[in-house]
């Protein structure tokens, strides 16, 4: 077991999920960032090399997706609905501050989401760490990946 870190934030939306972290340093808009979703939602990949250098080529399916916030436009929710139907949605979402579009997709798709934490999740959490998201309590428990 690696070291544990607890982050406490605002009460989130949804209940509980745990899984491996994928940490993205850029704000996300699924319309602009995941080009191959239009061919196969089940294989959704970050394809925008210029806008998304920290996660380029990676997939968020079954991950705990950590990212600063959402970005414009507004179509991330309708795209995520198709991704979720294809079984490729993230297990939970952790933000510095949640954009309303992501709060709303979290409500409808029942994907737990937490934000306003006492530490910056994009700095504290690294890709590959094990993350437990308790949205009801607003707590994120991070088990650091052993090097």
């Amino acid at each position: 077991m690696g070291d544990k870190i607890i982050l406490r934030g605002h009460k989130g939306i949804g209940k509980f999920a745990e899984g491996e972290a994928l940490v993205c340093q850029e704000p996300i808009n699924l319309m602009a960032d995941t080009g191959n979703v239009w061919n196969d939602p089940s294989d959704t990949t970050f394809t925008n090399k210029v806008a998304m250098p920290s996660v380029y080529g990676q997939k968020f399916s079954d991950k705990i997706l950590i990212f600063p916030t959402g970005k414009g436009g507004i179509f991330s929710s309708n795209i995520m609905m198709d991704i979720a139907a294809a079984g490729a949605a993230p297990k939970a979402l952790v933000n510095i501050r949640t954009h309303p579009v992501w709060a709303l997709l979290s409500i409808v798709l029942k994907i737990p989401i937490v934000d306003r934490l006492d530490k910056n999740p994009c700095e504290v959490i690294k890709t590959g760490d094990w993350v437990r998201v308790d949205a009801e309590k607003g707590i994120v428990e991070v088990t650091k990946k052993k090097n």
Partner: protein, 415 residues
């Protein structure tokens, strides 16, 4: 969140399941953002947007609402099929809910027919509309996507948080513009620059100072509105002297000081042109307008005049997106004919069909299918368009309209 007795009844299902579902969504949203209450909304601009599958789960969600017997409780405008991009089935569902057709109403504020007035709480999606209504009308809106938008339109209310509150509408960051913005392309570059700087903190309302009021056109403000939320999510800014909540710099900050100041000179603006610069001499397409970017009539006039008596190259397509009122004006002025005569394609249908896609599917466009149809280098006049096609691995190139005309005629650009 405190609810009125009537709102509590709606939440409990006393008015039926159709009203209960959107009310539950609004209450969850409000509690997440610490809203104290729901506030009535005066009007809604809704847009669902494209989905990867057909009809898509989002449309099924809207259809379920429509079939539950609910109707919109305030004037609600949706994009129509004027441009043949929104399918009939979707429009029928919206009509059942009581929607009023609008020209690209939900997606882009280019010549909107229906406008709110200062201080009104509205739903104003997409992001370009949200920004335009917040910043230049002084109406109040967050960006809440189709889920929040439909829910609010059905209930007639929305949670009071974010840009609906006076304190969150005040200036937080200052952008001192020290470069002349010569056209809409420069305005789009300025928007994109601000968007990049506030990418992870879009709520830090930018105040833009240094613009001469008489030099600004409404079309430029629309273009800026389209670009400034494209990388980040800025949907409210204050343009000193123009925004009704920022007639002076002092008013913009309510007497306070900016937490951060950025100077935007020629060097900074040029960073955006360099970010979207050519890597090959011959592009695969020139597109005046793009997904979510409707060219202004001024842009169309300029392009038609630049190409008058000339022919564009056959090496690649040059496309101008004309739709709704802009197309009507362009047709009336003879601009459409002039452009066609020069070899320009009007709208994307011809091109899409040539590449084996279905022009009736509104997700069949270069933003979503560029890779599939072999577009690797596209020239645009707008930074937002450049940004979006990055998802297809496209090298997007940002050029002024005069440069676009030159590239269209010669078939080549300087690398």
């Amino acid at each position: 969140m405190e609810l009125t007795k009537n709102e509590e009844k709606m939440l409990a299902g006393d008015y039926g399941e159709g009203y209960k579902k959107p009310m539950e969504i609004l209450v969850q949203l409000g509690e997440f953002y610490d809203a104290k209450r729901l506030v009535p909304i005066s009007m809604c601009y809704l847009t669902k947007g494209p989905t990867p599958t057909t009809p898509g789960k989002a449309l099924e969600w809207v259809e379920d609402l429509a079939n539950s017997g609910v109707t919109f409780k305030c004037p609600t405008f949706v994009s129509t099929d004027f441009g043949k991009r929104v399918n009939d089935h979707e429009f029928k569902i919206n009509k059942k809910l009581g929607a009023i057709p609008a020209y690209q109403g939900g997606g882009h504020p280019r010549n909107p027919f229906y406008l709110p007035v200062f201080g009104q709480q509205i739903i104003g999606d997409g992001t370009a509309v949200t920004h335009y209504m917040n910043s230049y009308i002084g109406a109040r809106a967050n960006t809440e996507c189709f889920i929040g938008g439909y829910s609010a339109a059905i209930v007639g209310k929305t949670p009071e948080y974010g840009f609906r509150l006076h304190e969150n509408r005040l200036g937080k960051t200052l952008f001192e513009v020290q470069v002349d913005l010569k056209d809409e392309t420069d305005w789009s570059a300025l928007g994109y620059y601000i968007s990049l700087k506030l990418a992870n903190n879009y709520w830090d309302v930018p105040v833009i100072n240094g613009i001469k009021i008489n030099d600004v056109t409404n079309d430029e403000l629309v273009t800026f509105s389209s670009s400034v939320p494209s990388y980040g999510a800025v949907v409210h800014s204050l343009l000193v002297g123009i925004s009704p909540e920022a007639l002076t710099l002092k008013q913009a900050f309510d007497g306070g000081k900016p937490k951060q100041t950025f100077v935007v000179g020629a060097k900074e603006l040029n960073e955006i042109y360099e970010r979207f610069s050519p890597v090959v001499e011959k592009p695969d397409m020139i597109s005046i307008g793009a997904f979510g970017v409707i060219p202004s009539i001024d842009m169309v006039i300029k392009f038609a005049n630049l190409l008058e008596g000339k022919k564009v190259t056959n090496d690649f397509p040059t496309v101008v997106l004309l739709d709704g009122p802009i197309k009507m004006v362009a047709d009336t002025m003879g601009l459409t004919d002039k452009l066609k005569k020069a070899g320009v394609q009007i709208g994307m249908s011809e091109f899409i069909k040539e590449r084996g896609l279905d022009p009736k599917k509104h997700y069949d466009n270069p933003v979503t299918k560029a890779k599939k149809i072999g577009l690797k280098n596209i020239v645009f006049v707008d930074a937002k368009a450049c940004h979006y096609t990055g998802n297809q691995g496209v090298n997007s190139i940002l050029k002024h309209i005069e440069e676009c005309a030159q590239i269209a005629i010669t078939g080549r650009m300087e690398v």
